[in-house]
Symmetry: C2
Subunit: 401 residues, 2 copies
């Protein structure tokens, strides 16, 4: 009895799912809202940064050559010519054997090529004793040393960090072109499901998936649109899936944990469009369905939350990243040494949960359906389909939650 017509490898599923990703239109957001969003265009600086050669310390602007050989015992003696004010240009110049007080961030006067830190100088009336030599260029940030006018400061596809926002501020980009947040329709189906607010009766379980999937979609920068529990009635489910497809950029239907239900979900996707993949060589997560309706991807996820979550991590993440055009994978990993053998079945990619402490990865054995190991673990190890398992002492890459 064949349950799955055609089980495909994970790599193929990823390639198909990336191919289905509809490109998301860009929008402009204020700079203060830009963090975490995915940049939709290259951004160039509208000016040179810094716009003038500036001091990075409080001290005295000098010609470095005038400080040669100076020391505590034999200081160089320079004439004090005045002070640079903050936030203004200066028309003072240095010609030789003289110096000008300059605050951190002040404009380096013409003729000066370095700044002596105030700790290494002493004022005596109109003369400044310099007690430590400086090199040419020391303690200054040169005109356009950071970015030149017109230079690309950040490339499209970058998910913006706090520092990136700072660079955009410096570059004068106050309205930021970013990919819109993809709208993701989320449906749960299954006769066994009851809302989280209820106490499950015999054979029933709470609808955990709506929450896990919506939270993960938010984490990836999407707008989750939760349709709740759809009864296992073919007509009702077909209508709900159809509505979700029309209202969103992609749809995730979780449930159909039993074969009959899975077949129904696949059948409904086929009615609205087409099923490309039904069954993936991944554990947990085998009964995953990948389809397309109205040019929008529709994914059937396993009913069990722990399995659904692995499929979100291993597959659906690629879909979202492709939709927004994000260039990074957003996957954080850490290397660690395995403390125990992990057996695995050749022919399917398996994901094992581990706790990582001080570079040591300890597998959390137990059934893949457990939620408790999902929250007790630091992350997961991917065991390739070609492998029959990993041995104690192996260096592994842990995908961090």
């Amino acid at each position: 009895m064949r349950v799955f017509l055609n089980i495909v490898p994970v790599s193929e599923a990823i390639s198909v799912i990336r191919g289905l990703a509809p490109a998301i239109d860009p929008e402009s957001v204020p700079l203060s809202e830009a963090a975490e969003r995915v940049l939709a265009q290259d951004i160039a600086s509208d000016l040179d940064i810094p716009g003038f050669t500036r001091s990075v310390v409080d001290g005295y602007a000098v010609r470095a050559a005038d400080t040669n050989g100076s020391s505590d015992a034999i200081p160089a003696i320079l004439s004090f010519r005045g002070r640079v004010a903050m936030g203004a240009g200066t028309d003072m110049t240095i010609s030789g054997a003289d110096c000008i007080y300059i605050p951190t961030g002040g404009v380096l006067p013409e003729g000066a090529d370095a700044v002596v830190m105030i700790e290494n100088a002493e004022q005596l009336g109109d003369e400044i004793l310099i007690k430590k030599p400086v090199a040419h260029g020391e303690n200054v940030l040169r005109f356009n040393e950071d970015f030149s006018r017109g230079e690309t400061v950040l490339r499209h596809g970058r998910r913006l960090s706090s520092q990136d926002v700072g660079v955009l501020a410096a570059a004068g980009c106050i309205s930021v072109p970013v990919a819109q947040r993809p709208k993701i329709g989320i449906l749960s189906t299954g006769n066994e499901l009851v809302p989280v607010t209820e106490v499950p009766g015999p054979g029933q379980v709470r609808d955990v998936n709506s929450y896990v999937i919506a939270s993960f979609m938010k984490e990836l920068g999407c707008i989750p649109v939760v349709y709740g529990i759809i009864p296992d009635d073919r007509e009702i489910l077909r209508a709900a899936v159809g509505r979700a497809i029309r209202e969103n950029d992609a749809v995730l239907v979780s449930g159909g944990s039993s074969k009959d239900e899975r077949d129904m979900v696949a059948g409904i996707i086929a009615e609205h469009g087409r099923v490309l993949i039904h069954g993936i060589a991944i554990a947990p997560g085998k009964p995953t369905i990948i389809g397309q309706c109205l040019k929008r991807p529709v994914i059937g996820l396993p009913g069990h939350p722990a399995s659904a979550f692995i499929v979100l991590i291993a597959l659906v993440r690629h879909l979202i990243v492709s939709m927004t055009g994000e260039t990074g994978s957003r996957i954080r990993t850490v290397e660690a040494t395995l403390t125990q053998n992990i057996p695995s079945t050749r022919g399917r990619e398996e994901y094992a949960r581990v706790v990582v402490t001080d570079g040591i990865a300890t597998p959390l054995f137990g059934k893949s359906g457990l939620l408790n190991t999902l929250v007790k673990s630091t992350g997961i190890i991917r065991i390739p389909a070609e492998s029959e398992g990993l041995e104690t002492g192996t260096r592994v890459e842990v995908i961090l939650w």
Copy 2:
């Protein structure tokens, strides 16, 4: 000429800043809004999970002993007794040499102790041929194997992940006690600053810090309250700082890049309360001020964005984590091997930017005031104050952005 009265080590600054953190009151949020928030109480499950012994595959519920020795060639033959329906209890029982069809997630009938996968069975009229033995407990998730009723499922101080939200859903926690988002007042000061919307004139720079700091505070789960650029006028700045202290849980004043400005910021903090630290042995970031007014922490950050950002990472992060009671550090690190020597000054903790590729950390040399290395780097390496630098080949821990 002493610029800093008393430079303290980073460890002392962290300890002081943690000691100043006001405890933030808890609030309740709907489960769908709980991701990323910090749990304020331990949460116990309101029921046993699973609430019944359930199958994790589609197949036949059996007594494992009845399948002993079965194979393709010599299958065990069991009587077919019916089907378990999804989402309902069952009063069917197994007594011996019989079996019941069970879908994934179905209730295991009394008498059964394992499930044979459908792929390993064949129906012939009223008889089921079992072609592979199963062990006791195989393919089932036992009653309360995941969590017991009353068991703590998540502890307070945990920053909630998507999986955590799933566990809370399963445990019936629909209104989640979390720490309120701390309100952080953000002020920029300095005569050289112009709004990001303007083109800086001679000696002027854009107010990058308001954006960097607000973005980073959001990333840490806070509500940033931006007061914008406050002129370097003592009375105006004093009033603005006072207002920010009254309106927020903590205040960050950036600027005062020159000594005179720093002294003014410190003086204003002292007028409103007290200055505990003025100067930290950290590079970049030395001119940091830590104070307290109205029992709220007030931090004076360096004016240069690149320096301010390192202080946010190295110090202010500890303040926020202490305020919300978060137990994790939220710092992600990766180990890598240094490709080049990094010199460092003994007596101060230095932060060097590196690019990490395939486990190799390449330092991005250049002045600490550059923004471009802040966005080109993967993260930073902390060089302890006791060290005179790190040598090529050293294994280092990179703090990822």
